[in-house]
Structures are given as structure tokens and as C-alpha cells.
């Protein structure tokens, strides 16, 4: 086996109601230093993690939604959003933050990190993973 493994994070929980989203993000940030291939999947209620305009002042909890936009700086730029989950919740990509990265192989052009996937593509992402981290 090669030295690099494909780590796929499957995020299925909404933020704030439980701690999973926040602590998953903490794993992703630490994991980025290990130079493995990293893919993030947002499916089911996990898509709520990426909504725009989160304001947690009223609930007295830390708003960590801005951290997602820093993922590009950590070379985490393969972010997959499940289309069906958005649809089921009356959401579109326009409701989500736009996550980008600067492509060093393309004169640091700013590119989108996000891809909309269907269930067949999601099946491939899961099946091709070396390590699946479930939150």
C-alpha cells in the first residue's frame, strides 16, 4: 500500500444541536497536517453545517461556520455535498457558503472546492475510501 491513504469524512449531523460537527472539523484541521488525501462529504443533516449566515449570538455558542471557509488554506478542497439531502430539505447550493481554494498548479487561481454529488457518486466516494471517519 502507498504511504498516502484516502480519508473520507462523512458528516451527517447538523451543527449546534450536538457537538459532532465542531469536533469533526477539529479532526479535519489536525488531519490536514498529515498529508493524506482528504475528502469531506456532507449528507443528510450534515448539509446544515454549511449554511450561510449562521448567527449563534442568541444561543451563546461559538459560531464555527467561518472555519469551513479556511479549509482551502489547509489543502482540504474536495468537498462533496449530497444533492438529494439538499433537495429533501428545500435547500440549494445557493443556501450554502461558497468554499474555495487557490490552485497552486494553476497560478493560484481561485476555484470552488465544492461538488454536488448524487447517490451513485456518493456510493463511489465511500467505496473508494481507505479510511471512513463518521460523525
Amino acid at each position: 500500500m502507498s504511504d498516502t491513504k484516502k480519508f473520507v469524512y462523512i458528516n451527517r449531523k447538523a451543527p449546534y444541536g450536538t457537538v459532532y460537527a465542531l469536533e469533526s472539523l477539529e479532526v479535519v484541521l489536525i488531519g490536514a497536517a498529515f498529508e493524506q488525501e482528504v475528502q469531506l462529504v456532507f449528507v443528510d443533516d450534515g448539509v446544515y453545517q454549511l449554511t450561510k449566515g449562521q448567527d449563534t449570538d442568541g444561543i451563546g455558542m461559538k459560531n464555527f461556520s467561518k472555519t469551513y471557509s479556511a479549509l482551502g488554506d489547509y489543502d482540504v478542497n474536495q468537498i462533496y455535498v449530497d444533492e438529494q439531502s439538499l433537495k429533501d430539505r428545500g435547500l440549494t447550493m445557493d443556501d450554502l457558503q461558497e468554499l474555495t481554494y487557490e490552485d497552486e498548479d494553476d497560478d493560484w487561481a481561485e476555484k470552488s472546492s465544492m461538488k454536488l454529488v448524487n447517490r451513485e457518486q456518493l456510493a463511489d466516494l465511500i467505496s473508494d475510501a481507505d479510511v471512513l471517519l463518521n460523525f
Binding site: 443528510d44 438529494q84 447517490r119 456510493a123 465511500i126 475510501a129 479510511v131 471512513l132 463518521n134
Partner: protein, 103 residues
């Protein structure tokens, strides 16, 4: 690569089994554990989806210890399921290339 999917939620409580079944490939196995074992019983609203996946080639297993703990008789588990113990769970994890836990 083949995946072992574990489901630990009752299909009557959460959508974990539904989402799982929508992404299982023909070479995958779905193992129901903890409260997830409820999904293995005959004649439930989950049965049709499971039968469809079986027809596609997906294999199904259920953890016997969790069935027994919940008073769910193994003879009322859907046809086509294998009832495994913890050693069987370990073996399934070794036999597949990765494990996806639908928490």
C-alpha cells in the same frame, strides 16, 4: 473495493438505513447492530427496501446478541440475513476493504 456498512439506528427512528441502502454497492454487506437490528425483522416498513438491495446483490447480516437483548426472535428475521456474533462482526470487517458506520 467492498464496504461493510454498519447501521445502529432503528429505521423507525432515523433515516440511517435509508441513506445507507441508497449508497450500497452490489459487493457490500450491511450489518445491523444495536437498535439497528429492528430493521432486520420480517414484515416491516423497512423490508421492501432491504429486499430491493438484496436483489441487487447486497448481503445482509444482523448481530444476534443485539437481537436477543431486545427480545427479537432470530426466526423472525427476514430471509437472506445471516445472524452473526461479535466474532462474525470482526470477520466481516476483515473481509471488506473498509467500514462505514451510519451513526
Amino acid at each position: 473495493m467492498s464496504t461493510l456498512h454498519t447501521v445502529n439506528k432503528s429505521p423507525f427512528d432515523r433515516n440511517s438505513l435509508d441513506t445507507c441502502l441508497s449508497v450500497t454497492k452490489a459487493d457490500a454487506t450491511v450489518l445491523m447492530i444495536e437498535d439497528g437490528v429492528a430493521g432486520a425483522m420480517q414484515n416491516t416498513t423497512a423490508s421492501a427496501g432491504i429486499s430491493d438491495a438484496m436483489a441487487k446483490g447486497v448481503k445482509f447480516a444482523v448481530l444476534g446478541e443485539d437481537l436477543r437483548a431486545r427480545g427479537l426472535p432470530a426466526d423472525r428475521v427476514m430471509d437472506g440475513f445471516s445472524v452473526v456474533d461479535y466474532a462474525g462482526f470482526v470477520q466481516l470487517s476483515a473481509d471488506h476493504d473498509n467500514v462505514q458506520s451510519w451513526l
